[in-house]
Symmetry: C2
Subunit: 392 residues, 2 copies
């Protein structure tokens, strides 16, 4: 059964996404009587969520005063990748006031990684980014029990299974915390401030070291019964393909991902079919997916072909998901989105050819706008939502 | 944004699904104060939705009176298949009071088919099944704009595109009508009174002439942006497979469906590999999917193999959808559910092997309980919901 969203949450989100707004406009946009709005604003001012922001321009009659989110609100947004830590501190409008990014191996385990996150946040505090945090949002590269705030059987995160991530951060920073899957937070970020702005039903496909999918349905993240919805990297695309790290044969990820592409690129560099890759291998001692992207831009035929092969495979899986979910947009993000328009063209070609015409008639397949910032942007949105939700 | 369900809808559904209930228990179960409940019941009695039903057993203190849905409430439930029309008239508790089933070709077009539906309903009226209908629910074998009450580009329904089905039925019977996809209504039926009772997130897979999927997420039917979500029959399972009626190569439906199975069975009957099928072909002049089911029960190896091959292909698609949607149950229905446990065992084997262990840990894959009645059962639920929704 659906439950209506409480007034304070709608009001605070409106200020977050619009900046200073007059009381008169707030009452109009929230469709509630003026007295109720005034009482609610006054309550939220007392609680420290909302502050006065001067007078609005006249609309004729008595001038209305502007209100905005308390300028001292601060949220921490954390995006943990397989090999990276991104931390931002943002204000109530989700504008960054401090940002840190560094390499880190998620396999170091939760204690080491979360200690580093805390160090970065304490450094931000020492640098004057905040006095106290109002909420922390974290994305992790694996399935999450959103309700419990813990990773659940995450395949590439040894030691993290059921580790109390939310509890630890809450204790450390004295504020609510929220934990979600990294692809889900990227999708949330892209919907809040990116190409999927205000789109209710879309798929965010992250193509990076692995492949995953964030699912937004009816305006909300769909996480599935066990928190592992969107695990599309292990859909089989070739029954006679290579073995995947999961133990199955021919998974999408085993054929197209950062890891798979680096492997294919190394073969092409060694056997001499790709001059661009051979040159990079000779200079740097190794080639990565990024080298394939660079080689393609230079017109290297093998690099272009590798990207097209990958796009065809990913496109085949997405065509099936379009038939199943009939979304209104597909966003391609993650590190391999740098493969750019060659990848996109191939994905589009397969999806538009293979799915039901009714489902693809108005279906944009586009690249992420937020790029590497999608994750922290979404973590910030989640953190603000959880903080706002507690304004009761 | 989520909107809370109105009290009258919750109250009427509770009476529909529970029968006579005391006012005291209604107030408890709906979690509202007694005076508000009494006022609402009284309003619904005046409107003719609710009726008195005697005294409840004592709970100590003053005895509460029972109320129930008006015994005169009648809904029409219509399930239009590719080659069949099923019509039921049910009471407020969705118990059938009249039922008709006959062969009909959906390609005869909307005027002929809907005229036949109306004839059957008028016959039911003449037979005393109802005085007036309170709502009509209809399922059609193709994509539907649920909001507009019209089929949209339905591939196997020539002449039905955007035909005003809802409007025509409303005019004919002087009551609200609701139109949905046939697989969606089967899923709704199975959730209301079948194996998926009260399950919020499940997939209902119909395997019949074609293959489709009803998607229930967070307790509601998910229809997609264009009303064509769940069109899994055209997901590619073999890039080198046969051509499908949709023009693409190797769709699931082209390899496993009533049509495909009849084709494979005919080949096996003719080339003599299957004695069971050869015998039926000789006797009846043709073989169908049902003959394969019968042959398998008799132990015919080719029949068993045909079912296992089909189950493997369907299972491969479902494994991908489990990875994507992480549902809590999969229900197999439609005519080919008669292939029974051989089919089920093969589907389970593939899904459990191929999907993420976290997603399959507690995932039942089961046969429909309602069988051929799932469609009308769901159409009746939809009809009652739309009638109850108008009790304002």
């Amino acid at each position: 059964m659906r439950v209506a969203e409480p007034l304070h949450l709608r009001l605070l989100r409106l200020l977050r996404d619009n900046g200073a707004v007059s009381r008169a406009e707030l009452a109009d946009r929230l469709e509630i009587p003026r007295p109720r709005l005034l009482a609610e604003v006054s309550r939220l001012v007392d609680l420290g969520y909302v502050a006065e922001a001067g007078m609005a321009a006249s609309r004729g009659g008595r001038r209305s005063t502007l209100v905005e989110l308390n300028p001292g609100l601060r949220f921490a947004a954390v995006d943990l990748g397989a090999s990276s830590v991104d931390v931002e501190v943002v204000n109530g409008r989700l504008e960054p006031v401090a940002a840190y990014a560094e390499a880190a191996d998620i396999r170091s385990g939760p204690k080491a990684i979360l200690q580093r996150v805390n160090e970065l946040l304490h450094k931000a505090k020492a640098d004057g980014a905040y006095e106290r945090l109002d909420a922390v949002g974290v994305g992790v590269p694996g399935p999450v029990s959103f309700r419990d705030g813990v990773p659940v059987s995450p395949p590439i995160m040894p030691g993290w299974d059921r580790f109390p991530v939310r509890e630890l951060l809450t204790r450390e920073h004295g504020c609510p915390a929220v934990v979600d899957n990294d692809v889900n937070i990227m999708a949330i970020g892209e919907r809040h401030g990116g190409v999927a702005h205000s789109v209710d039903d879309f798929l965010f496909v992250k193509v990076g070291t692995g492949i995953g999918c964030g699912i937004h349905l009816s305006g909300e993240v769909y996480r599935g019964i066990d928190g592992c919805a969107g695990d599309i990297g292990h859909i089989q695309v070739d029954a006679h393909g290579p073995m995947c790290s999961c133990g199955n044969i021919g998974c999408l990820e085993a054929l197209f991902s950062g890891t798979a592409l680096a492997k294919d690129a190394t073969v092409a560099a060694r056997n001499g079919t790709s001059p661009a890759l051979a040159e990079r291998l000779a200079t740097r001692g190794a080639v990565t997916a990024l080298d394939v992207a660079e080689g393609a831009v230079e017109g290297d035929v093998v690099c272009i072909q590798l990207i097209r092969d990958g796009g065809r495979r990913l496109g085949g899986v997405l065509a099936g998901l379009v038939s199943f979910a009939n979304p209104s947009m597909i966003v391609i993000g993650g590190g391999l989105a740098q493969l750019g328009h060659i990848l996109l063209a191939e994905i589009r070609s397969v999806v538009y050819r293979r799915s039901l015409p009714l489902a693809t008639g108005n279906l944009p397949v586009v690249l992420s706008e937020l790029g590497p910032r999608a994750g922290v942007a979404g973590a910030a949105v989640l953190a603000s939502d959880v903080a706002f939700g507690e304004a009761t």
